[in-house]
Amino acid sequence: MQRMPQWADVILIPLISLILAAVLSALVILAIGENPWAALKLMVEGSLGSTYAWGYTLYYATNFIFTGLAVAVAIHARLFNIGGEGQAMLGGLGVALIALFIPWPHWTLALLGGAVGAALFGAAWAFIPAWLQAKRGSHVVITTIMFNFIAAALLNYLLIGALKPQGSMEPATGRFPEATHLPTFQDMFSTAETALFRGAPVNVSFFVALIACVAVWALIWRTRLGYEIRAYGQSEGAAKYAGISPVKIIVVTMLISGGLAGMMAINNVMGEAERLVLNAVEGAGFIGIAVALMGRSHPFGVLLAALLFGFLYQGGAELALWTSIPRELIVVIQALVILFTGALDNMVRMPLEGLFLRLRRAPKPDRKTSPAE
């Protein structure tokens, strides 16, 4: 017997968590003498109020979809990949190399090539932790986080050395060739009369991210590999009994996870910056953890959570710009959301489950339980 109907698990709990986080944030804003209601209005206005605002929100969301999916896929195999940050950095390196050193005839091909390069580099960065976990039992949480630092150091080294154009004073690669320019929403949706999404970085990678959501869903719930990943994640003993190789599942899952994290680079490096700069990932790899947790490791949930975090990111930036609320407080608000939706899940879940149980105890016709997906 399930304790709660599924809609409560998927929608009600995140919503209540979110409201709690919002209430607490409001109190914090109140405490520093600002008006929380005005702040909320500003955030909504600044992130959803215009196509320009949407353009930023969706741009951030695209990053978070990729890193969120990366974490989500790994969670299905009970692997906690917190190396999304480093894998995304390496993805950026892959994109940069491919954009700089291969002459692309058209952006579509460049996008394809960039996506492949980003995924390959991201996956390669996840491979060593995966191998160490599968063969030596070195915990993937430890190794992936270590690899974040190594990735940062590696990019540092490359961007002040081999990849820096001659004579440049900046730790960044040169600008990518024009042929690799990905169409932004401005390019795609503006008409002659009205310019939409003017100056906003959101670009065609958003659609790649949506495709990735569908692909991950199909992988997890429709393919044999996904079935085996879930089986291994639920019960290693059962997986061994069935003849599913743990080594294979760990390595393949981490490659997919690293590849997804790496693919974020087609958005931030290829789509937005059009060159590789230092610290291009800006913490999106870590936000991906919160996104995956909040999204219950389901691609659709990840999409919604990524949109929410896109909103928080963009809204937060607006708040910092227009009010005396310091930038750090925005981080506090984001942290509260992560805390409530991720870490304090049970705080909301337990009382809610109790409530549903009490409701159900009143005699009612048996409710059909829905499938686990």
């Binding site: 399930q2 044999r224 639920q234 003993g237 003849g243 190789s245 339980t369 499938p371």
Partner: protein, 533 residues
């Protein structure tokens, strides 16, 4: 019944866990100085009832009366104060403490340990003399056998002045000889005026030792009868709610060609302990080989090796062809392809994925078969249809393939696993503890399926710690002890006593053996296994 005051009286106890009514208006009177059995299938509510009595749960409604006084038992401390002691199925002992230290633990007088220990030593001596509970107070728990450990648990309760002793499935881990000894201890305790509540699902134990028996079914107390006035079939019927065949009906075996040959099979585990010591046996088509033995003597390792997920040395041939015991093809998938089906001992951690739906579980292990796949994708519709059909044929209840496996009862979970493995029509079926945690109605059904497979000319390797099950199903019985096969017997030509001796590692079964000798042997084995580890 007499008009004595009951030692324990429960009045109208009810307890619900969410929508599940675990105990429904239960009333029971346990008379002092008796052994009172509580029997029922898994999930009938026995353990919940005892947990309420011991203060782990609070009843939603109802009253507890101890020695004629209404008593509130909000926690186990209160239960102990009321004179109630409990011996759990899984012992709660500190492995590297001595017997004495374990007995005193939690019942020390004052901050200094020494006086408590000295006092406990004196009391243990008295208790040992009084109840045949001989035990070395300075032995470490990790050095003594399971039967002894259980006695320590009983001593713990007695040391805490318990007058009422609850034992939860106490014989599950014991050899027949150890169980006999336990029963003698319990009878001794009863004769000294203690009250004993024995929770079990084994009819034989009820008949052998209890004075009164209460039967539970689906959270309700269906009957309380004097043991002398009832019979096993009647109790079984009260438990299940319909007539049950307690004995498996089967025709004599018609063994055919040899299906499985095992030679010099040796397993050394990761700690360097030899778990299988070069064993050998064979199984022919149309034959059930039962492996008897106390849990932990290598049976699990044997199943894992044959199932493909534990490395081993030696030779195993299936239908004359060698099976890989180490290397790339030593895995469950290759075994299934070769015609080996496996119902593992532990269905919760191996046989099923509890969070998967039933239909996903019915394909588990066979999910790469062509009929379940369409190109890159799994053919979920085909799997669901297959699962629904199998669940119907095996009468899995409720017949909902979409329900998660964890939501089925133990018996129905096992039916899902058995259906999956048997319906593949394997040449060899490995089946471990087929009816552990399975209700009587489902036991009957599963036993029939095993026999039916054997009658179709398939080979079956049955591993079980339930001697009754081994005796009634097997065509031949092999007894394992300490990684070796101590001997093979035909069921018609052996009895529990002989098998019990073999299970304790004693092969010259014709001579009489004292209990002390058996115990010494078990303790030796226990100590040597630990040393190797």
């Amino acid at each position: 019944m007499t008009d004595q005051t009951p030692a324990i009286e429960l009045k109208g106890i009810s307890k619900a866990f969410g929508p599940v009514q675990a105990n429904k208006d239960i009333s029971i009177r346990v008379m002092p100085g008796t052994i009172h059995g509580i029997i029922g299938e898994n999930g009938a509510g026995k353990s919940t009832l005892m947990s309420i009595l011991y203060g782990f749960y609070r009843a939603d409604a109802g009253e507890i009366w101890v020695d004629g006084r209404r008593t509130e038992i909000p926690d186990s401390q209160a239960a102990i104060r009321a004179g109630i002691g409990m011996v759990f199925q899984h012992f709660k002992l500190v492995q590297n403490f001595s017997v004495l230290e374990n007995v005193v633990l939690g019942a020390e007088d004052g901050a200094m340990l020494r006086p408590s220990l000295a006092k406990a030593r004196r009391e243990l001596k008295d208790l040992a003399a009084e109840y045949e509970l001989n035990i070395d107070p300075d032995a470490r728990i990790e050095d003594i056998g399971v039967g002894m450990q259980q006695r320590v648990e009983i001593l713990k309760a007695l040391y805490r002045q318990a007058d009422i002793l609850i034992l939860d499935e106490p014989t599950g881990v014991l050899t027949p000889a150890e169980a006999d000894h336990l029963f003698r201890i319990l009878k001794g305790l009863r004769d000294q005026g203690k009250t004993i509540i024995l929770i079990t699902h084994k009819l034989r134990e009820i008949m052998e030792i209890t004075d009164t028996v209460s039967v539970m079914r689906r959270g309700e107390m269906t009957a309380t009868v004097q043991t002398a006035e009832t019979s096993p079939p009647e109790l079984a019927e009260l438990m299940v709610g319909r007539k049950v065949l307690l004995q498996v009906e089967k025709v004599p075996p018609k063994p055919g060609k040899t299906v499985l040959e095992v030679e010099n099979l040796r397993v050394v585990d990761s700690k360097g302990v030899e778990r299988l010591r070069k064993i050998g046996f064979e199984i022919r088509a149309g034959e059930i080989l039962g492996i008897a033995g106390v849990a932990g003597n290598g049976q699990s390792e044997l199943l894992e090796v044959l199932g493909g997920y534990r490395r081993a040395e030696g030779t195993v041939r299936l239908n004359g062809k060698p099976l890989e015991l180490a290397g790339r093809h030593a895995n469950g998938r290759a075994r299934r392809a070769a015609g080996v089906a496996h119902v593992p001992e532990d269905r919760h951690h191996e046989g099923l994925i509890l969070d998967f739906s039933a239909w996903e579980n019915v394909a588990f292990g066979y999910h790469d078969r062509p009929e379940f796949n369409k190109g890159l994708f799994m053919d979920n519709a085909a799997i669901k249809a297959d699962a629904a059909a199998k669940m119907e044929r095996f009468d899995v209840r409720p017949p909902h393939p979409h329900l998660a496996a964890k939501n089925f009862s133990g018996g129905n979970q096992q039916k899902i696993v058995v259906a999956r493995e048997i319906e593949r029509n394997p040449d060899l079926l490995l089946i471990g503890q087929p009816t552990r945690g399975v209700d009587i109605g489902a036991i009957e059904f599963i036993h029939e399926q095993i026999v039916a497979l054997r009658d179709m000319g398939k080979a079956v390797l049955l591993v079980s710690v339930e001697l009754d099950e081994i005796m009634s199903l097997s065509d031949r019985i092999a007894v394992m002890f300490d990684g070796k096969i101590m001997g093979e017997r035909l069921p018609a030509e052996t009895d529990e006593r002989e098998l019990g001796l073999l299970m304790a590692g004693i092969t010259d079964t014709d001579k009489p053996h004292s209990e002390a000798e058996i115990e010494a042997n078990l303790a030796r084995r226990h100590a040597s296994a630990d040393k190797e580890a």
